[in-house]
Structures are given as structure tokens and as C-alpha cells.
């Protein structure tokens, strides 16, 4: 079955620093989603990538999907305390949606 691995598991950065979160799939991805989750809350959709080499940006967050469609990265530029939370990658597997284990991000002011 398809699995999604995220790295790092947790990250602490100083405000203003850049950071990258990775998501690796055991199989080719046919739709990769990035979500953000704050503690005790539901998931908020950030971006979806479908094509190899695709890149999307929203405010200071950029997500990329590699050409082989097995790895995605989420990059945050000039991090702010509001970026803190858990970042999850998700994908539509053969029959169901699957999620990575998440990356917990803490931004120090």
C-alpha cells in the first residue's frame, strides 16, 4: 500500500528564517495536497499539486512536486509565528486518501 513519509518530524526556527518540509511517497503521486493543522483544530487546505515539476505559491509558502512525482517539498520564506502548526501532506491513493505523519513547526519570536 502507498505510504507518505514526512521529514523532519518537528522543526523549531527563529522568526524570519526560511525552512523546508519534505514529503516522500513510496509510489507515484497523482495528486499531492498540503494541509496545515493547528492544535485542536481541523485541517486547512493549502495547495494541491498534480503535474511533475509543478510549483505553486501562496503568500510566503511555496510547494513543489518533483518530475518523478514521488517527492514534494513545502518551503516557507521569512517564517512568522503565524506559520506555527502541523503541516501534513496528503495524497489520493488507489482507493482512499492517505496522509503523512505531519511536521510540527514552531516559530520563535
Amino acid at each position: 500500500s502507498q505510504e507518505l513519509e514526512q521529514s523532519p518530524q518537528s522543526l523549531i526556527v527563529q522568526e524570519g528564517k526560511n525552512l523546508t518540509i519534505n514529503c516522500t511517497s513510496s509510489k507515484t503521486l497523482y495528486g499531492l495536497y498540503w494541509y496545515k493543522q493547528k492544535y485542536g483544530e481541523g485541517l486547512i487546505f493549502l495547495m494541491m499539486l498534480q503535474k511533475g515539476g509543478e510549483e505553486k505559491s501562496h503568500e510566503k509558502i511555496t510547494a513543489k512536486l518533483d518530475e518523478k512525482k514521488q517527492q514534494s517539498s513545502l518551503h516557507i520564506t521569512a517564517s512568522q509565528p503565524s506559520h506555527a502548526g502541523i503541516y501534513l501532506c496528503g495524497a489520493r491513493g488507489t482507493y482512499k486518501y492517505i496522509f503523512g505523519t505531519g511536521t510540527r513547526l514552531k516559530v520563535l519570536a
Partner: protein
């Protein structure tokens, strides 16, 4: 537009007791999902409904978990009897079928603690 509503937000029960969670999806969303998210893990799909029919319940522990979606709108998820390992956040999500983006809209979740 109102989001996905869930209740209760928090529940504490003892093992072997029963518990039920309620979800009201976004109006018009025919597809509804229940996920279980154990602390430190990503959400795991328990059951997917299309209107009031079950599309996928392969990961639902059917000996103790049950779910229904009467009239294709609200849904309830029940656990009977609960075990310690059922402690988790239960997330409900909904989406319009056929959306190209297939974006799911999530509710705030119900945090269950089994003691």
C-alpha cells in the same frame, strides 16, 4: 458559507463505555469522510460516504465502530465499547464530488479521551 460542524468538541469516557460523534457537512457536499487521528500521526480514513451510501469502510473496526449517514446529510460515528487505544481526534470532512481539486473541507474534530 458555513463550514463542517462537529460535536462534541471534547469527550472523556471510561473504557467499555459507548460514545457518539456528530457531523454536519457543508451544504450540498455529497461526499463525507470520518478520519481517526492518533496523537503524533496523520489522519487515517475510517469511512467514506457518498450521499447515504458507504464507499469505503475497509479501515473501520466494525466490531466496535459504526457509522451512518441518514438522508445523505448529517452523519454519526459510534464506538461501542470504547478501548484505551481509541483515544484520538475524530475528524469529519466533506467535499463536492467531481471537483477537479478534490479538496476536502475539515471540521474542527472531536477529541476523545478514553480512561
Amino acid at each position: 458559507e458555513a463550514g463542517v460542524a462537529q460535536s462534541p468538541r471534547y469527550k472523556i469516557i471510561e473504557k467499555r463505555q459507548s460514545v457518539a460523534f456528530w457531523c454536519n457537512p457543508i451544504s450540498g457536499h455529497a461526499t463525507l469522510y470520518w478520519y481517526q487521528q492518533i496523537l503524533g500521526q496523520g489522519p487515517k480514513l475510517l469511512i467514506q460516504f457518498q450521499n447515504n451510501g458507504v464507499v469505503d469502510d475497509s479501515q473501520l473496526p466494525k466490531d466496535r465502530f459504526s457509522a451512518e449517514r441518514l438522508k445523505g446529510v448529517d452523519s454519526t460515528l459510534k464506538i461501542q465499547p470504547a478501548k484505551l487505544e481509541d483515544s484520538a481526534v475524530y475528524l469529519c470532512a466533506s467535499r463536492l464530488p467531481g471537483q477537479i481539486r478534490e479538496e476536502q473541507y475539515f471540521g474542527p474534530g472531536t477529541r476523545l479521551t478514553v480512561t
